[in-house]
Symmetry: C2
């Protein structure tokens, strides 16, 4: 790792949505992507072609030329593969990208320099995201590795922050509420409208405004609706309208009660 | 109602966030706001001053000069007051603005021309909204009143749609999911981050992207996260992290199960 940050050579272990977004972002900043590994050869080849790298579907053929190895694999397979990955080059820096895996998964892997590089964002194949505004949360065991990692992350994002494994778990959990669960509520709303013969697009201005509001107000101050007003006649009418779908009715009840109780505090 | 739509004279019965936004939007399009009523005199006076109208806090003093009376009061008081309001001028057009009240609340009020004008949006005192993109959902008993109402609504919005009372109830219910419940999930996420010593603002890029995605993909296709992948080790770890707040843990369980089950269909 004697090169300057802009000359960095990166190996991507994984070629999913996150790896793909991150590899392209580093490439745009002039980093050299040496190699892309994926168990699925077509995925490895496709991303490799986009970022000017070699590709492999054989983990034992991982390049020894990387300064940084970015491991973006499914959580349940990461741990077993770390010793194989760390064997590629002992003195390189190794990071995983998982919100839910602690730094300590690297212990015993054989890697001397390791850490975590967690982008707090949702990635889809069909959408490019702007990495500059995405928080990149970094962690490393050694202070010198943490400093190096912050410098590297700073190539692609203006929002680099060092957090502990415990904080990262809280971030990941809060992201499930703010992104995955929120999207499911949009889905439930879409189904209700579909049954009524109305397009989901009618809700988009409301959804946009709900999002814009929390840029200016705290979510607590932004809360509106029948539950926070404890408007029981509307709530009853809504529960009645949901009687054919008890599991959706249960979600309505639980969230309404939670809103009401949080605002009594 | 012999005047053209742009010469329309409007009386606002109510001076809350919705009435305020709507009155200003009509005023900007050249409509004349004749009078603003609110039980709270200061609210009536404040909005009246902003839109160049008279004001009153006495419903028996409602102006007889309106072509259109817009009733934007709390749902639970609307019904009892409609006969008093309708007495102001028998041949005018009367509308309420509630998502959850059927058109039929006007029956027996004495109004000859009546309907509903429901803006599908969330209104806050501190934020101005752009009415042109807000869906305005209209309904009337007589076709000629519906046509007139669509023309009037078209002054302030480019998205005017005629819906039935049943469809409007579905829209209101879906808005509770997509706006009120979504905002509460943001609030729960904010609390989790606060406990971890991290600012809510870290989540904003993720929240923005979650919203942008449903402009391009259906919410179903946009779904990501541990529940849709059925990643049990992450789900277990999250439930464990929520063990101190059983009601939030219950929300996590219920929404995760709902996501998983909907995506098995």
């Amino acid at each position: 790792m004697k090169r300057t940050v802009n000359d960095i050579r990166i190996v991507f272990v994984g070629a999913g949505n996150l790896a793909s977004g991150l590899a392209k972002a580093f490439r745009r900043q002039g980093a050299r992507i040496v190699q892309v590994y994926s168990r699925t050869e077509i995925a490895a080849r496709t991303l490799a072609a986009e970022v000017g790298a070699e590709h492999t579907a054989d983990l034992s053929q991982l390049s020894g030329e990387g300064d940084l190895y970015v491991v973006a694999l499914k959580d349940d397979v990461v741990k077993n593969l770390l010793p194989v990955i760390a064997a590629a080059r002992r003195d390189a820096l190794f990071v995983h990208t998982a919100g839910s895996l602690p730094l300590s998964v690297w212990e015993g892997s054989g890697a001397g320099h390791y850490g975590v590089l967690y982008p707090l964002q949702t990635f889809s194949k069909r959408r490019e995201v702007d990495f500059r505004v995405i928080p990149l949360l970094v962690e490393a065991a050694r202070p010198s590795d943490a400093a190096r990692l912050k410098e590297i992350a700073g190539m692609v994002s203006d929002r680099v922050l060092e957090v502990t494994s415990e904080q990262r778990r809280s971030l990941h959990l809060s992201a499930v509420f703010a992104c995955n669960f929120t999207n499911h509520l949009y889905d439930l709303a879409a189904r209700l409208l579909e049954k009524a013969g109305l397009p989901f697009s009618l809700l988009l201005p409301l959804i946009d405004e709900t999002t814009r509001k929390v840029h200016e107000l705290s979510p607590r101050d932004a809360q509106t609706g029948p539950a926070v007003r404890n408007d029981l006649s509307i709530i009853e009418s809504h529960l009645d309208a949901l009687s054919a779908t008890p599991e959706v009715q249960e979600i309505y009840k639980l969230l309404s009660r939670s809103i009401y109780e949080h605002h009594q505090l």
